[in-house]
């Protein structure tokens, strides 16, 4: 398959680009942060995104979606990343939509997918339990109790967990922490008894929560996929998430880079444009190359996802590693090349470096994924 966008994907990208530039420029995010918005995303804006069909891109047509695939949602996230557009699109339109569309029962699909398409519900995926991503280390417990399970434990860093209506929770139904077998995914109503949702205040001012479960009841009907094999299932969902997040991070990097190049072309010091300094030119050229490499890695991973490639895991780790490293580099260099103004809160670049470091942690850092890539490659 060719590493180029199809016409359909170009159309989605153009639509998303217009939307992000007109409806959600960075000032939109700034206002939500300054106003200490409860959700840190805007319901009306989200409904506009839903009306464009974005929450249903990974959902089959029979449930009201468009089935445009990971390639479709990724170009949108990339454009949204350019303006740091906050929304539940990643947690709902990628994670929730993909998980239920691909692993849900017919009943679960009928129950949830049309509501995701219409914007009636948002979802969140609860995996992590400590400061580092590591799904196998899940010790969160689900105990069988007749026709239902009792869920106990604490989940951390749940993306959009402070606003989600539905939680998809990774739990251990048998075995020990560190084992792939014995994991099971559950769909839990966020209003269920025994849930304590603690909103987090993170550097990137986006929506996250730690969630405590105290004897939360979940019926057999709400198991996602099959019992005990949730480890494989969640890895698949996570890989799709990692790829989509890499696309968003690529958008973040492109935007911070573009802002920096513009600045080099208009800022004068010592009577000349600072863009004439070779010390800065060469670093800018290196960033350009890193972004080009990132585009290729993300695009290959996106296509791998849509083609069900047997290389998907490696491609996902490749994309997340490179996207993390590139955004890390660009967000640092952008600030340095801007000088003093770069470290002021008034200027937008600070948002990019804060977003960078949080996004780098989402579903595994570059270090985590380099190690995973090495394992998968037999190094």
């Amino acid at each position: 398959m060719k590493l180029v966008l199809t016409e359909e994907q170009e159309f989605l990208r153009d639509t998303a680009k217009d939307f992000a530039q007109e409806r959600t420029p960075v000032t939109h995010f700034r206002a939500l942060r300054d106003n200490k918005d409860k959700n840190l995303w805007d319901r009306d804006i989200w409904q506009e995104m839903v009306n464009l069909g974005w929450s249903g891109i990974l959902i089959p047509e029979e449930f009201g979606g468009s089935n445009f695939g990971v390639a479709g949602i990724s170009v949108i996230l990339q454009e949204c990343g350019k303006t740091l557009t906050p929304s539940p699109l990643f947690s709902t339109g990628v994670l929730g939509a993909y998980a239920i569309s691909n692993f849900g029962t017919q009943e679960q699909k009928e129950k949830y997918l049309p509501k995701i398409v219409s914007g009636e519900i948002t979802t969140a995926l609860a995996v992590d339990e400590s400061s580092h991503h590591d799904p196998l280390k899940t010790s969160f417990e689900a105990k069988k109790n007749n026709e239902e399970y009792l869920l106990n434990g604490k989940k951390t860093f749940v993306i959009d967990g402070a606003s989600a209506d539905i939680l998809i929770v990774l739990a251990r139904t048998s075995g020990n922490s560190g084992e792939l077998a014995g994991l099971t995914l559950f769909i839990v109503d966020a209003n269920a008894d025994g849930l304590n949702i603690i909103k987090l205040d993170m550097a990137d001012s986006r929506n996250y929560a730690n969630i405590e479960f105290n004897d939360v009841k979940c019926s057999n009907q709400e198991i996602l996929g099959t019992v005990e094999t949730g480890g494989e299932t969640v890895e698949r969902i996570l890989d799709i998430g990692r790829i989509a997040m890499s696309a968003e991070m690529l958008g973040n990097a492109e935007s911070a880079f573009e802002t920096t190049i513009e600045y080099l072309k208009q800022r004068k010091q010592f009577g000349v444009l600072i863009g004439t300094f070779q010390a800065l030119q060469h670093r800018a050229a290196e960033m350009f190359c890193e972004i080009e490499l990132t585009k290729s890695a993300v695009m290959a991973a996106v296509q791998g996802a849509d083609e069900n490639s047997n290389e998907l895991q490696r491609l996902s780790s490749l994309a997340k590693t490179i996207a993390g490293e590139t955004l890390h580099l660009v967000s640092n260099e952008a600030i340095q090349m801007h000088g003093g103004i770069g470290v002021t809160d008034e200027y937008d670049l600070g948002f990019f470096i804060k977003r960078s470091r949080v996004a780098e942690q989402i579903f595994g850092s570059s270090t985590y994924h380099t190690e995973r890539y090495a394992n998968l490659s037999g190094f």
């Binding site: 004439t276 800018a284 050229a285 190359c289 080009e292 490499l293 290959a300 490749l318 190094f379």
Partner: protein, 396 residues
């Protein structure tokens, strides 16, 4: 126009009849393999190398897209694809390696006169004349346009005096295409001409250059009162810089798609080297620090390969990014060799003698050779300049 299926059958039949057994896959490994560059001084260890070159040359299939009147194959793009597919299918060897084909011929087609094309293209295509490139000079490396080798117009011919350096295979070549200064008073870019010189002319001499890695194909080439006929000027007098730049594009495109040949060093696998010399535990390179460095490098290499594929898929908008490929291709290659010798340990810096394996001694040389990769064909710093100015539009 001929039906493509008919053409395919013709090609198959022709290859079947004309491609000698030792020039295709499954060749007897005891038959020596030639690196065929053609030319008047060519020597062949295997006579079938010469037969294969002559047959392909006569067909014009060493440059299949060049019109038949210049000795080419006169094929269209679809036919070339078929030819390549059928050659690939039987594992046919490339009959000819040639700077004439890769660099000079495209420039002749664009800038040469009718007579020049008719004179030189058939000989390039048949591999009768081997060419070398006379660009760099001791005083003109990255700043190529400052070159000083002068060609004076003395009536019925040019008189050439000066020195070129880094002329690959000058000692084996028959002719050289050279940049010379014909306008000493003009601004430096406007006084350069593109001249073809027969290496057998009196006053031309060459001397091989030994590199830090040992023997090399590079030479110094000297011109001492060399008489060059007027008809060997390509394009207009003092308009050679545009031709030089066009040729550099072909060179860069060539380097980025084929690498620098043997100059790219060792093709050994980094991971196997590390497992052999550093050790292996449960299928993993046993030293975590080496392993992580190697993994990081492999990830970059993977992404670079995908970028190469993407540029191809996007359909040859490559000129803007040719500098990126040159830069990253060579820098990654240097890094790969550093990791390989580090993983090989003491044996990775072995130079000579019977205490060390040949492949490890070769690795040492290969590692040193790669140091030139980011210098030849435009240094990494020049590539960064090109990207920052032409791609990013940063001011001068």
């Amino acid at each position: 126009m001929q039906n493509l299926e008919e053409f395919r059958n013709e090609v198959k039949e022709w290859l079947d009849k004309n491609c000698p057994p030792s020039m295709r896959s499954g060749a007897d490994p005891s038959i020596p393999v030639d690196e065929v560059w053609g030319g008047r001084k060519a020597e062949y260890k295997n006579p079938e190398s010469k037969i294969w070159l002559d047959r392909m040359g006569a067909k014009g299939w060493t440059m299949p897209t060049v019109p038949k009147e210049y000795g080419g194959g006169g094929l269209n793009a679809e036919q070339v694809t078929i030819l390549n597919q059928e050659m690939f299918a039987i594992g046919a060897k490339q009959p000819l390696l040639s700077f004439g084909i890769w660099m000079l011929a495209p420039v002749l087609l664009e800038y040469g006169s009718e007579e020049q094309k008719k004179e030189h293209l058939p000989k390039i295509i048949k591999g009768e004349i081997r060419w070398c490139q006379g660009y760099s000079e001791p005083g003109s490396g990255s700043d190529l346009a400052s070159l000083a080798t002068k060609a004076e117009d003395i009536g019925d011919h040019f008189l050439v005096n000066g020195q070129k350096v880094w002329t690959s295979y000058a000692d084996k070549a028959d002719w050289i295409f050279a940049l010379v200064r014909t306008g000493p008073k003009e601004p430096k870019h406007d006084g350069i001409s593109f001249l073809l010189i027969d290496m057998e002319t009196a006053g031309v001499s060459t001397k091989p250059i030994t590199l830090i890695s040992g023997k090399s194909p590079f030479c110094e080439t000297f011109f001492d009162d060399v008489k060059v006929p007027k008809e060997n000027l390509i394009g207009q007098l003092n308009a050679g810089w545009a031709i030089a730049k066009a040729l550099l594009q072909h060179e860069r495109a060539f380097i980025s798609s084929f690498g620098l040949g043997s100059g790219m060093g060792s093709g050994r696998d980094l991971v196997s080297i590390a497992k052999k010399h550093v050790g292996e535990e449960d299928g993993k390179i046993s030293n975590g620090f080496y392993r992580s460095q190697i993994a990081s490098h492999k990830i970059k290499e993977h992404a670079f390969g995908l970028t190469f594929k993407r540029a191809k898929d996007e359909g040859g908008k490559a000129s803007a990014t040719a500098s990126m490929f040159k830069l990253y291709g060579t820098e990654h290659n240097k890094k790969r060799h550093e990791l390989m010798i580090a993983a090989t340990g003491i044996n990775g810096v072995a130079w000579d003698g019977d205490e060390f394996d040949k492949e490890d001694k070769n690795l040492t040389r290969a590692w040193l050779r790669t140091k030139g990769n980011s210098i030849e064909g435009g240094t990494s710093e020049v590539q960064l300049n090109v990207i920052s100015k032409r791609v990013l539009g940063l001011p001068s």
